[in-house]
């Protein structure tokens, strides 16, 4: 394992993050505050509580997951897509490094950015609502795994995308609907039985539910199934990246 190469890619990507602190940190915080205003203040006054948790607090884990998914995908896909677009990908391909090192550098940095943003959102939320954190270590583990998993898939998206439209396609058409229908703003148990069953086909529900459990100790689905779903998701992403670097698909002619 070539740690120096990994660290070089990782530091380069993190430097980009710190160079534009406003875009990197302030934007996700502002949009979270907006969600608070719209869903928490406007709708929350009508719902009051879900399973004895104030609605404002209830939506926080979902908001964090929502942002983490979007940021992980966007950061990782942009990082590799920009290199393809500008042409600096050649440097990565010509370097004496393995795919694991490339992925570790890019995906690691994208995941860490998401984790930082998630923590900032959490701290922002504390200013608005009372927020318990029942299982902080597990919360962090789930957060890191989710960030890493979606950064991995974002990396794949960046390799797959041939143009900017394709780069936007999956976040817009797949991720956003899954997140909004994934119980970020409501509990699946609030749905009629049929729609509750449908909702349970949505993998994002398992993420949101598992993450919410680490805050409040209650969940729509067993926590173990959340962890399992996440592990499968991560494993598939890793296999796909491995296959891509092995065959050179859309990277090496």
């Amino acid at each position: 394992m070539n740690w120096r190469s990994i660290l070089t890619i990782f530091n380069f990507e993190m430097a980009r993050f710190w160079r534009t602190p406003w875009e990197s940190l302030a934007a996700p915080v502002v949009s979270t505050v907006l969600y608070f205003v719209v869903f928490g203040a406007a709708i929350g006054t009508r719902i009051e509580s879900v399973d004895n948790i104030s609605y404002g607090a209830f939506i926080v884990p979902g908001l964090i997951i929502l942002t983490v998914l979007q940021q992980s995908l966007a950061n990782a896909s942009n990082a590799i897509f920009m290199r393809k677009f500008v042409g600096t990908i050649h440097e990565i391909l010509a370097a004496p490094i393995s795919f694991i090192e490339v992925v570790a550098g890019f995906v690691g940095a994208a995941a860490l950015k998401s984790v930082i943003i998630a923590i900032v959102i959490y701290l922002t939320a504390l200013a608005f609502v009372d927020l318990p954190l029942a299982h902080p270590v597990l919360a962090l583990v789930l957060l890191v795994l989710t960030s890493f998993g979606f950064a991995l898939w974002g990396f794949l998206m960046g390799i797959w995308a041939r143009d900017w439209q394709q780069l936007q396609f999956i976040p817009m058409m797949v991720i956003t609907p899954l997140v909004f229908l994934g119980g970020a703003f409501y509990s699946a148990s609030m749905l009629p039985p049929f729609w509750e069953a449908v909702a349970k086909l949505n993998p994002v529900l398992y993420l949101v539910s598992g993450f919410r459990w680490t805050f409040f100790g209650m969940a729509d689905v067993p926590v173990l199934s959340s962890v399992l779903a996440l592990a499968i998701f991560l494993g598939l992403g890793f296999l796909a990246v491995w296959a891509i670097f092995r065959t050179g698909w859309r990277l090496r002619a």
Binding site: R4, T8, T88, E91, P96, I97
Partner: protein, 306 residues
């Protein structure tokens, strides 16, 4: 001395079915400058891209410093630096950072003293903190060279290093390349400026339609295929050549007669020719000879061998 790069029967057919390389075999000697010449689309860039790990070959084998390029890619690639044809840079980075990044990517420990030497040699040291987008095109090209050199490669590939570069900068680049050769770096450059190959190369390889037509020492090539032209300036214009001089060329103004001869022939025929001038009573003011350039050689080869 064993070659630093051994290429045997290398071929590449792209997914579209286009055959770009058809069985190229070539040994590259340590410390030489090899120029690969060929028209656009001949396969030069494909060849370089395979050797640098950007394109996967469909057949054949490459060994770099004794290491198999695919199986032992870490050892093989760490010997190589690539200066790509297109200017591709992170435009918001500073010069020094992008060069440090390249070095780190190759897993080398930071060594700012070494990078300073590289940047100074390329006249980039004063610009080390400048953002890449602020640099002129020529400087960007030099940054690409600095990046390629940042990990101290033993082999440097330059893919059309002077395409679209003005005359001064081209000469500057040649100086840089000569300096690298003096340090023992093996240099492979592609070009379609024949002047460049003629100026720089120890050996010249000619690629056309995916085949390596020949590789020869430049001097041998020029010698072997070289023709000389004798130009005879006349004291007074001629309306037409006398029959004894038929087969020669008379310039439109009637003042110069050109005679082509092969430098390998036992007799050049010059003495006989000048004798004929005297016998015909044609006054000669001056005589000059010209060596045919690599360009002439190249055009003849591509025509004859293709």
């Amino acid at each position: 001395m064993s070659p630093i790069i051994e290429v045997s029967d290398l071929s590449k057919t792209y997914a579209s079915g286009t055959p770009a390389l058809k069985g190229v075999t070539l040994d590259i000697r340590e410390g030489e400058i090899l120029a690969l010449l060929g028209p656009n689309g001949a396969g030069k860039t494909t060849f370089i891209s395979i050797l640098c790990g950007l394109v996967t070959p469909t057949g054949g084998q490459v060994r770099v410093g004794g290491h198999d390029l695919l199986r032992d890619y870490r050892a093989a690639r760490s010997l190589i630096g690539l200066v790509p044809q297109e200017i591709a840079l992170e435009f918001f980075e500073s010069v020094i950072n992008t060069v440090r990044f390249s070095r780190g990517l190759y897993g080398k420990a930071p060594d700012d003293a070494y990078l300073e030497r590289v940047l100074r040699a390329l006249s980039l040291w004063d610009k080390r903190d400048a953002k890449l987008r602020e640099l002129s095109g020529g400087m960007k090209r030099r940054v690409l060279i600095a990046k390629a050199l940042s990990h101290g490669p033993r082999i440097l590939f330059l893919d059309e290093p002077t395409a679209g570069v003005d005359v001064n900068l081209r000469r500057e680049m040649w100086e840089v390349v000569r300096g690298l050769k003096a340090e023992g770096v093996t240099i492979i450059l592609t070009t379609h400026y024949l002047e460049e190959a003629e100026e720089m190369a120890d050996r010249v390889g000619i690629i056309d339609k995916g085949r390596l037509l020949l590789v020869r020492d430049k001097a041998d090539l020029m010698h072997e295929f070289g023709q000389k032209v004798l130009r005879v300036e006349l004291a007074a214009p001629l309306a037409e050549l006398p029959s004894a001089l038929s087969g020669l060329e008379l310039s439109p103004d009637g003042l110069t007669v050109s005679y082509r001869y092969d430098t390998h022939a036992d007799r050049s025929g010059i003495a006989r020719l000048l004798g004929t001038f005297a016998a015909e009573g044609i006054g000669v003011r001056d005589v000059a000879t010209e060596q045919s350039s690599l360009e002439d050689v190249f055009l003849r080869l591509v025509r004859d061998l293709a």
